[in-house]
């Protein structure tokens, strides 16, 4: 299991992390098995989809429309646990829609992805430094 950092540059952003995941798989030395990519942040998401610039914009636009920024959210109040206002219900809700992990099969030490499949981090409340976890199981 390894943790790795991804630093987002935009408030809402789709970041292709496939190459980084490939590097970490290689470093693990596991040839056959499964890789679990997981985000430790409830205002992000992990998903697999096509690497196409237009589609990346569509994903952001879709979530902006699916979950309104200006809804009447109970979450938007002072959060003693953090010592600050909670003001990002929309980001949490978008994260729930995407999910926080993906599992990818491995063969011959490579990700067994379809030709159009890439692994993405969805940033819904950036820019921020995010910590992701990769767990590789197999032999």
């Amino acid at each position: 299991m390894r943790e790795f950092k991804v630093v987002s540059k935009r408030e809402r952003e789709i970041i292709n992390i496939t190459d980084r995941v490939r590097e970490l798989i290689k470093e693990s030395g596991i040839k056959e098995g499964l890789a679990l990519v997981f985000s430790k942040h409830t205002t992000t998401g992990i998903f697999i989809n096509e690497n196409e610039r237009g589609l990346e914009r569509d994903v952001i636009n879709y979530f902006n429309e699916a979950v309104r920024d200006d809804g009447d959210y109970f979450h938007h109040h002072y959060f003693y646990k953090d010592g600050r206002m909670a003001v990002n219900a929309w980001a949490h809700l978008r994260s729930i829609l995407v999910g926080l992990n993906v599992v990818i099969p491995l063969r011959d030490g490579e990700l067994l992805l379809g030709s159009r499949e890439n692994v993405y981090l969805a940033e819904f409340d950036g820019p921020k430094e995010r910590t992701l976890v990769i767990t590789v199981l197999g032999e």
Binding site: K9, E11, H76, G83, V87, P127, E129
Partner: protein, 284 residues
């Protein structure tokens, strides 16, 4: 077109300066319990929000807790690295031992810092004490602006009395050439803060952070309902300055919220940029 913004209220509690001891202080004294982000993230937040310059605030908690969040030196070192992006404000607890004049020379002037940040509630000092008054006198002499916390402090261990905006009417009248910025528009004592600013040429108001909901909800409520929009535009157009209060709130959320209030374009520009430049003496 969105003109560049000046953010007058940034706490540079970045991972480059917040070590384990400072993180403890950040949690226990400053009350903020989120992990520090790298400076790179602060710069990206500014970029995302079209903030061309940020005022970085130190906070001297040395008398209360033997720590600074961050120290004057740490603020100065960030400004030195990014001189076009940041202006640094130091902090000095008025009860520190020694000559205030000398401390200001050493820890503010000599480091190139251009103002002072005080939070009587968190720092735990009486803002009308002799020693504090002496400090304001030195700031006036040096022509250094002062930004002070006013409004709610959420932590029961801190004094609420020291957060009241009316305190600063007394200070503003004693030191008429000292520019004083009252933070957070004094919420919930908003009209008290406004009264102080209206009758003292040297008092200004920052609208940093949100207290009643999301930034959109809060700034719309503050600047169109609690205070009528016409009053903001006619009476406070040269008094209000923009601040975020990062990292207690993300900068893009606050800028977008201010732009969404629906103020006249020239008023929006004054709040987001011009009024801050005047206080800093950096008018174009």
């Amino acid at each position: 077109m969105n003109l560049p913004v000046v953010d007058f209220h940034i706490h540079p509690l970045v991972s480059e300066v917040i070590d384990e001891d400072k993180y403890k202080c950040q949690r226990e004294v400053f009350g903020l319990r989120t992990s520090p982000q790298p400076l790179e993230t602060l710069l990206s937040q500014m970029q995302e929000a079209s903030v061309e310059r940020g005022v970085l605030l130190a906070l001297d908690c040395s008398v209360k807790a033997n720590c600074s969040l961050p120290s004057n030196e740490e603020v100065a070192s960030i400004v030195k690295k990014y001189p076009s992006k940041f202006v640094g404000f130091g902090s000095l607890h008025p009860y520190r031992e020694g000559s205030l004049r000398e401390l200001l020379e050493e820890e503010v002037i000599n480091l190139g810092l251009r103002g002072l940040k005080l939070n009587p509630s968190i720092q735990d000092f009486d803002p009308l004490s002799q020693r504090a008054l002496q400090l304001y006198g030195e700031l006036e002499r040096l022509n250094l602006p002062l930004i002070v916390h006013t409004g709610l402090s959420w932590f029961p261990s801190t004094s609420l009395e020291y957060c009241k905006p009316l305190i600063w009417d007394n200070v503003a009248r004693r030191f008429p050439n000292l520019k004083i910025v009252l933070s957070h528009l004094g919420w919930p004592w908003v009209w008290d803060a406004i009264a102080v600013a209206l009758r003292n040429d040297n008092v200004f108001l920052d609208i940093s952070n949100t207290f009643t909901g999301s930034p959109n909800e809060h700034l719309r409520y503050l600047l169109t309902e609690l205070v009528p929009k016409r009053f903001v535009e006619r009476f406070l157009n040269e008094k209000i300055i923009f601040g975020s209060d990062y990292p207690r709130i993300e900068i893009p959320k606050m800028v977008r919220a201010l732009r969404g209030v629906g103020l006249k374009e020239e008023i929006e520009e004054a709040i987001l940029r011009l009024n801050a430049l005047k206080i800093l003496g950096d008018e174009e």
